[in-house]
């Protein structure tokens, strides 16, 4: 046995503590005159000896506990010498159960052939052999199996709609064989179709696995492969009630494919698009399907793209794409400036924004801030003021009601803010920050916002502002602002002062921007970032969304406009691809589904349902088999045998096997800690 951190063994010197205490501590007896000592005498001898035994046992236990703790910290290793006589055959089987193995030609499916090969291999092994089986797609290990158990496991193996993960198999093989079967005779069998994805993983293996014997078989068809697949699909947009989708269709085989592509949303189907693909050709096709005009509320449409039948693998001919169509909204915006001209720039930006946005229409009304009336606030959804003026003070109570009703109040600043009105509005919790003294000092804006996904503003627009290099825009001056306790600082200046403050008011929002709406304090609204800045201030926009994931990804269902329905819940039930009902956690505005249960649709229960499509990983069903010589070369490099094995082990392992003993020590420690009080109390009687 040796210790990795032997210095901790010095901690064992702490046993001196209980030893000294044992030697120095003497029991204090109370002197009592007595008469009937002859009746005590027999018991006395027994009692004293028991006491001595107890003291000794407790001392030993405590010393052992201290020594064990010291040894535990020193990380003990047990060296076990090589015993070749005890070697026994151990088999590691890596069986590919990925979706590509469902490919079927005239001779049956790859998967059935693979299972037959595995069964033959297991049957040919010795009766006392030990089997460890790894399903390459799911990464599940079945360890320590007897021959019969291994046969049963192979028969129970099922296809997993994901791609293979060779890393799991090889790391598990190295870990188990080094830890438990280092001196056994280790044989490895890999059965796979070695699709490009799988083969690439073998190619990228850096450290070879030392084994005694390697067998592998490439399960491929003797005939040319016939397989086309929908590799990917994206939403282009909705025009005149028609949803346009671009789909990438690939011929993964060698036989020319003449197929037709359709898109369906339940009862509605698109016109089939003829797709002609030569060997290994990739083509982009566009399909259109009627979805109607956008309603007032957001809707989710599960679109199933379907390639007509005609190849050996049906599962990759379907692509699941959920499309979210936002509700059409109109927003009434009031631009209140001190003069007609100072709102010109921002009005221009908002006009542009309104034109470019498919789903949000901005109806803009421009007024002088001193002529702002309560009725204007009743009409508006958004009020943008160029400065904090006394008129706002007069309308303070109206503004409060406006915010409570869900309105958005955006205020810019000028060099001279009406301090009285500002204080009044700040005290009434309307302003997100109290504008103070003007500082005539040139400064720049921070390149990124303080919060990446801040609620209340458009975070996509925030990224756009960073891309527009908002940090390069020079500010001529700024106001020293005091943040309201309930407000958040969303964006900072480089000197640390605040640039954008946001204060939520229930459903409403109040924003203070520490620059002018014209170019008197800075040129944000004059820059090319002005449209993105307007979008940022107006909050999240409505966009077409597509929700599809691969089998290996974490599925996130967007709560979207239905968020209110999920408010207050931390978990929600969803129906997964296998038809089962599973729990999904609500995080921010998404439902996280831990296991989609295959490929297909994941949807929320109840109406309106929120959909997400789960598809095969790209390239999973690419049936292009590897070159045999190349496969031999790679496999001989990945699995080191014979002399190569010795060389491989030389740098990694030693003649002796080092087995960590910390688990044993921990159990012993726990046992001793439990026994110590029991001994102390039991022996005291």
């Amino acid at each position: 046995m040796s210790f990795i951190e032997w210095i901790f063994l010095l901690g064992g010197l702490a046993v001196a503590g209980p030893l000294i205490a044992h030697l120095l501590a003497k029991p204090r007896f109370r002197r009592v005159p007595f008469t009937m000592l002859r009746f005590l005498r027999t018991g006395q001898v027994e009692s004293r000896s028991r006491r001595k035994l107890r003291d000794l046992m407790i001392l030993l236990l405590r010393c052992a506990i201290i020594v064990l703790i010291a040894m535990l910290f020193a990380r003990p290793l047990l060296h076990i010498r090589y015993k070749p006589s005890g070697a026994r055959p151990v088999y590691y089987l890596g069986l590919d159960n990925s979706m590509s193995m469902t490919y079927s030609d005239g001779d049956g499916s790859y998967f059935v052939r693979m299972a037959d090969s595995a069964v033959d291999y297991i049957r040919s092994a010795q009766d006392d052999a030990l089997f460890n089986i790894c399903a390459l797609a799911s990464g599940d290990w079945m360890q320590g199996l007897s021959k019969g158990q291994a046969l049963a496991e192979v028969k129970d193996l099922k296809i997993e709609p994901g791609n293979t993960n060779v890393g799991d198999f090889l790391s598990g093989l190295s870990r188990i064989s080094r830890a438990e079967h280092y001196y056994d005779e280790v044989s490895v069998l890999v059965l796979s179709d070695f699709t490009p994805n799988t083969f690439r993983q073998f190619v990228n293996v850096a450290e070879p696995a030392a084994v005694d014997r390697i067998d592998y078989e490439s399960i491929v068809s003797s005939q040319p492969v016939s397989n086309a697949a929908i590799a990917d699909a994206h939403v282009v947009g909705v025009v005149e009630g028609k949803l346009t989708i671009n789909a990438a269709v690939v011929n993964y085989g060698r036989i020319e494919q003449n197929r037709s592509l359709t898109a369906g949303t339940g009862a509605d189907y698109s016109y089939p698009i003829e797709v002609n693909l030569s060997a290994n050709q990739r083509k982009s096709c566009q399909v259109q399907i009627e979805v109607g005009s956008a309603g007032r509320r957001q809707s989710f449409i599960p679109v199933e793209l379907n390639l007509s039948e005609g190849d050996g693998l049906r599962q990759d001919d379907i692509f699941y794409l959920a499309v979210s169509i936002p509700g059409r909204e109109e927003e009434n915006v009031i631009l209140a400036g001190e003069s007609t001209n100072d709102m010109f720039l921002i009005k221009t930006a908002m006009d542009t924004l309104s034109r470019t946005d498919s789903y949000d229409t901005l109806r803009i009304k421009q007024v002088l801030v001193n002529e702002l009336e309560a009725s204007d606030l009743d009409w508006a959804d958004v009020v943008v003021c160029s400065a904090v003026t006394d008129r706002l003070d007069d309308l303070a109570s109206n503004l409060e009601n406006f915010l409570k009703a869900g309105g958005r109040f955006i205020s810019f600043v000028t060099e001279t803010a009406a301090s009285g009105a500002a204080k009044q509005l700040w005290r009434r919790d309307i302003l997100a920050a109290l504008p103070g003294q003007y500082v005539r000092e040139r400064t720049y804006i921070q390149p990124k916002s303080c919060e990446s996904r801040a609620v209340g503003v458009d975070h996509i627009a925030a990224r756009s502002l960073s891309n527009y290099r908002i940090d390069k825009i020079l500010l001529k001056g700024y106001l020293e602002c005091e943040r309201h306790p309930d407000a958040r600082l969303l964006w900072q200046l480089r000197n640390g002062c605040g640039f954008v403050y946001l204060k939520p008011h229930g459903r409403g929002t109040s924003i203070l921007v520490n620059t002018s709406v014209d170019d008197s304090l800075g040129s944000v609204t004059k820059s090319s970032a002005s449209v993105a800045f307007c979008r940022y201030l107006l909050g999240e926009s409505n966009q077409l969304g597509e929700h599809c994931f691969t089998r290996n990804e974490r599925v996130m269902l967007p709560v979207g406009d239905s968020g209110a329905a999920f408010a207050g819940y931390r978990q929600f039930w969803v129906e997964t691809c296998d038809g089962k009902t599973r729990r999904a956690a609500v995080v921010d505005s998404f439902l996280l589904v831990p296991d989609p249960g295959g490929i297909g649709w994941v949807k929320t229960l109840g109406r309106p349902a929120i959909y997400a499509g789960v598809n095969l990983p790209p390239g999973e069903t690419d049936m292009t088999g590897p070159d045999a010589a190349e496969l031999d070369n790679v496999m001989s490099r990945v699995f080191a045998t014979g002399a190569e094995k010795d060389i491989s082990e030389a740098g990694v392992l030693r003649e002796k096997k080092n087995r960590p003993l910390w688990k044993l020590f921990v159990w012993m420690l726990i046992l001793l800690i439990l026994v110590e009080p029991a001994v102390a109390n039991r022996m005291k009687r």
Binding site: F29, F34, T35, M36, G43, Q44
Partner: protein, 280 residues
């Protein structure tokens, strides 16, 4: 001592108790038929004259009983477990009470104080003033020396000429076989024996807690121990010891009364009177 003895006796036993012996007296008791060997002076000639039959007159004897009170005064009797009354004091009160009781009925009462040997012998007298002598002796008695109960009992048996009641007040901490031999010697001489076995509550139960160093009062032997660990065995052994004494005395016709010094004296006096009643 006088006050204790009087209050103990008068508080509970106001009436006289009869003497168990029939002999010379003035109070007529009964008649019985004459048997050969009876003294002629007890023949009731008046009855003979009337009925022509010989009857003997029996009288109740009142004052001719002799009581020997043996009080163990060895060092072990000075033990007082919880700081209460020591066995010695308890025994002295009992001896005083019994002396008062007997002398008030004109019984001759002797007091023998002993340890290894007889320390003081007050011969039996029935005079009222004799009580003062006994009480004075008890008051100035001090526990000293080791117990040699068997030797003392043999000595008493050899020196007492008149049979009577032997009242032994002791903790009996001596060799049991020797004690029984001594008691058997007295019994052989036709003495009636009452043994008041005086024990402290701690001696009976060993209720000490914690680490204790016991020191023997007589031999000064020390012993370090944990009483709580020994209690069970100790009680068992003490119980066997007491059972053995009770059984052996019972078989020998000796009255045995175990007294716990934590209990009042009444029990001892009740035991004594019960014994006297049985003798009637």
């Amino acid at each position: 001592m006088n006050l204790v003895a009087r209050s103990a006796v008068e508080g509970f036993f106001a009436g006289l108790h009869p003497s168990p012996f029939h002999g010379f007296s003035v109070e007529y008791s009964d008649h019985r038929e004459y048997h050969a060997g009876d003294e002629l002076k007890f023949v009731d000639w008046k009855v003979f004259g009337r009925s022509d039959k010989l009857y003997i007159k029996q009288f109740q004897q009142e004052t001719n009983t002799t009581a020997y009170i043996l009080l163990d005064s060895s060092k072990s009797m000075s033990f007082a477990g919880d700081g209460g009354v020591s066995k010695m004091d308890y025994g002295s009160y009992l001896a005083a009470a019994l002396s008062y009781l007997m002398l008030s009925q004109s019984d001759s009462t002797a007091l023998i104080l002993f340890a290894e040997k007889v320390k003081k012998f007050i011969p039996p007298r029935s005079k009222r003033t004799h009580l003062n002598i006994i009480l004075t002796a008890l008051q100035y008695n001090r526990s000293l020396g080791q117990t040699n109960l068997a030797g003392v009992l043999h000595t008493i048996a050899e020196t007492t000429k008149r049979r009577g009641i032997v009242i032994l007040i002791s903790d009996l901490l001596d060799d049991e076989a020797d004690i029984f031999k001594g008691l058997a010697h007295l019994k052989f001489l036709k003495h009636d024996i009452i043994v008041f076995h005086t024990m402290d509550h701690q001696e009976l139960n060993l209720d000490y807690e914690g680490l204790i160093q016991f020191e023997d009062l007589e031999s000064k032997v020390r012993m370090q121990t944990f009483p709580q660990s020994l209690r069970e065995g100790y009680r068992k052994r003490v119980s066997e010891f007491l059972d053995n004494i009770e059984k052996t005395t019972g078989n020998s016709g000796i009255d045995y009364c175990l007294l716990d010094t934590s209990e009042p004296l009444d029990r001892a006096l009740v035991a004594y009177l019960a014994k006297r009643k049985r003798m009637m």
